[in-house]
């Protein structure tokens, strides 16, 4: 499968004051929905804006559909629907006016899909932007990114300001986009939605790509929440001493802890007692994500 986005040691330095991105190696395949995760200031927006040619990279290289991000920025933007994270729309314009203008810029004759998307998302197209709420502006932002059916959607926090029903509709649209074989690259703080629609996720921290995995693998490779219930009181200390165990709580007949690794040792130790019940739960993507950042903070200290 060919790549929609490929970067090699992509670097954008802003100078001493602000952190950009450093040595980002990214490969997003055509047809996948790729989630790009990280807190504010981690480098998500810098990565997207560098790929679109708004920022000049200070090192490395990047391609979108094989087109060079330095040389072919206009051609790249012709193939991309972009929703910036922080954006504003011209106050005097209506959504309809904006879509007609962008259709002319893109050579799109038929606004049928734009109207369909607007209807599904409940976007108000006939009121001036200055009279629209943040959520309504966000809907128009989404429609302008998607109405020309680009082969790649780059969406920065696409569901910010949307109510839950509209978020659901948006995720349905993303699944339709994937079914059409188009690619979606989106950053989000809402990890439940990332978990629902993304095939793979990349986690960026401190301007560096910390991990890229399929959503399932990322969760599978991560820790587990374990709750053990015994028939009689047990000493929790041997469990606490196991190398993969942390956050141990409880005592007596019931103990709970987080297990990073060492499943075999834990099971053998538990089997030495009369076990009544064992709960063994996968974490949510949100917990996995937070763990990455706790590690970073730990390293920082």
């Amino acid at each position: 499968m060919s790549l929609a986005i490929e970067t090699e040691k992509l670097t954008k330095a802003y100078g001493r004051k602000a952190r950009g991105i450093e040595d980002v190696d990214l490969a997003v395949e055509e047809g996948e929905v790729f989630g790009f995760l990280g807190p504010n200031g981690a480098g998500k927006t810098t990565t997207v804006r560098t790929l679109l040619g708004f920022l000049r990279p200070t090192g490395g290289r990047g391609e979108v559909f094989g087109l060079d991000i330095r040389r072919d920025s206009v051609e790249i933007r012709a193939r991309v629907g972009n929703l910036p994270g922080e954006f504003a729309l011209e106050d005097k314009m209506t959504g309809e006016g904006l879509l007609e203008y962008f259709a002319r810029l893109r050579g799109v004759k038929d606004l049928g899909y734009a109207r369909e998307l607007s209807e599904r998302l409940g976007a108000e197209l006939h009121r001036p932007m200055r009279r629209l709420s943040r959520g309504n502006k966000q809907k128009i932002g989404l429609v302008q990114a998607m109405f020309h059916r680009p082969p790649l959607l780059m969406l920065d926090e696409p569901t910010g300001g949307l109510d839950p029903l509209v978020q659901e509709e948006f995720l349905d649209i993303i699944e339709e986009v994937r079914a059409e074989g188009r690619t979606v690259f989106f950053s989000s703080h809402n990890l439940a939605e990332v978990e629902r629609v993304c095939d793979r996720v990349g986690i960026i921290r401190g301007g560096r790509l910390a991990a890229v995995e399929t959503t399932e693998t990322l969760i599978d490779k991560s820790f587990r929440h374990v709750v053990l219930t015994f028939a009689e009181d047990v000493d929790p200390k041997p469990f606490a001493d196991l190398s993969g165990v942390r956050n141990l709580e409880g005592g007596g007949k019931r103990i709970s802890f987080t297990l990073d690794d060492g499943l075999d040792e834990m099971v053998k130790l538990a089997a030495g007692h009369r076990l009544v019940n064992m709960e063994y739960e996968r974490p949510s993507l949100e917990e996995v994500f937070l763990t990455y950042y706790e590690r970073e903070n730990g390293e920082g200290r």
């Binding site: 804006r49 087109l67 933007r77 972009n82």
Partner: protein
């Protein structure tokens, strides 16, 4: 693996580039229409008022000229007053000699908004998310501001000439057309200074302040240079030195073309500068 665009693709892109430039220009001109009406009517009504007021002083022009003779000659030259009994000279001294000081703010504001203003408002990422080359953002805004400025000049010209015809002041359409058309290069050149600053500094305030400072600075150099022999040698550095009085003498096409070329060069420089830099939001 990098893709190299072939000749056919490049041809299609060139054709689309013309389409995007046209779309940008027509959209921007439409968005500026309200400003055109406000500026055109305000300046046009002022000019029409001056035309109407000429009928009141026409009968006492000789006395007024005698009174003017009592003023220092340099001062009268500074404001272009030679014969208040001549409607063309009267309108030059009262309207068209001063109009660039006000009207230049239309292109200055419009072109400061084009890049730095769009960055400050946060609209530039959405606009440039479209396949719009950066040079077209610069060129498109320059062309749109030029068209809108011409529209303002036309409104001012029509109100001036219409009033003159109505109150029977001896002012030909040709004289008025020359006067308003001559406003275009001197105003647009300060707009392109704003465009260059907008491309350089990504701060709208700075992109307005620098051309405004130049506008008043060069006006003062030329005006004081007319009155003072010590400063006369400095006048050629001021763009107002080349402005003249088109309502009396017709347009000096060499000066008109030279100022237009400077405006084009500044726009080209703005496009080159903007191509190189990061876009801020």
């Amino acid at each position: 693996m990098s893709v190299v665009l072939n000749r056919g693709e490049k041809g299609r892109h060139a054709a689309r580039a013309g389409g995007t430039l046209f779309a940008l220009v027509s959209h921007t001109v439409r968005m500026q229409l309200r400003g055109v009406i406000i500026w055109g009517v305000a300046l046009g009504l002022y000019s029409a008022g001056m035309v109407a007021s000429f009928t009141a002083i026409e009968g006492s022009a000789d006395q007024l000229n005698q009174l003017m003779d009592a003023y220092p000659k340099g001062m009268l030259e500074a404001f272009g007053v030679t014969d208040l009994g001549d409607p063309a000279n009267y309108l030059h001294s009262q309207v068209f000699g001063l109009a660039p000081l006000a009207l230049s703010f239309f292109p200055i504001l419009a072109l400061a908004n084009a890049i730095a203003g769009a960055e400050e408002r946060g609209t530039i990422d959405v606009l440039l998310g479209n396949p719009l080359p950066r040079w077209q953002l610069v060129a498109g805004n320059f062309i749109a501001a030029s068209i809108s400025l011409l529209e303002i000049c036309a409104v001012v010209g029509l109100l001036t000439w219409g009033t003159a015809a109505l109150v029977d002041v001896d002012l030909s359409l040709r004289e008025v057309a020359d006067a308003v058309l001559n406003l275009w290069p001197i105003c647009i050149v300060f707009g392109t200074v704003a465009l260059l600053c907008s491309a350089l500094f990504h701060r709208r305030g700075l992109a307005i302040a620098v051309p405004a400072f130049l506008l008043f600075g060069t006006y003062l150099i030329d005006t004081i240079g007319r009155a003072s022999e010590d400063l006369e040698d400095w006048r050629p550095v001021s763009v107002f030195y080349y402005y003249g009085s088109a309502i009396e003498n017709g347009i000096d096409w060499t000066h008109f073309g030279s100022i237009t070329l400077i405006a084009l060069a500044l726009s080209l420089l703005a496009a080159l500068v903007f191509k190189q830099r990061d876009i801020y939001t």
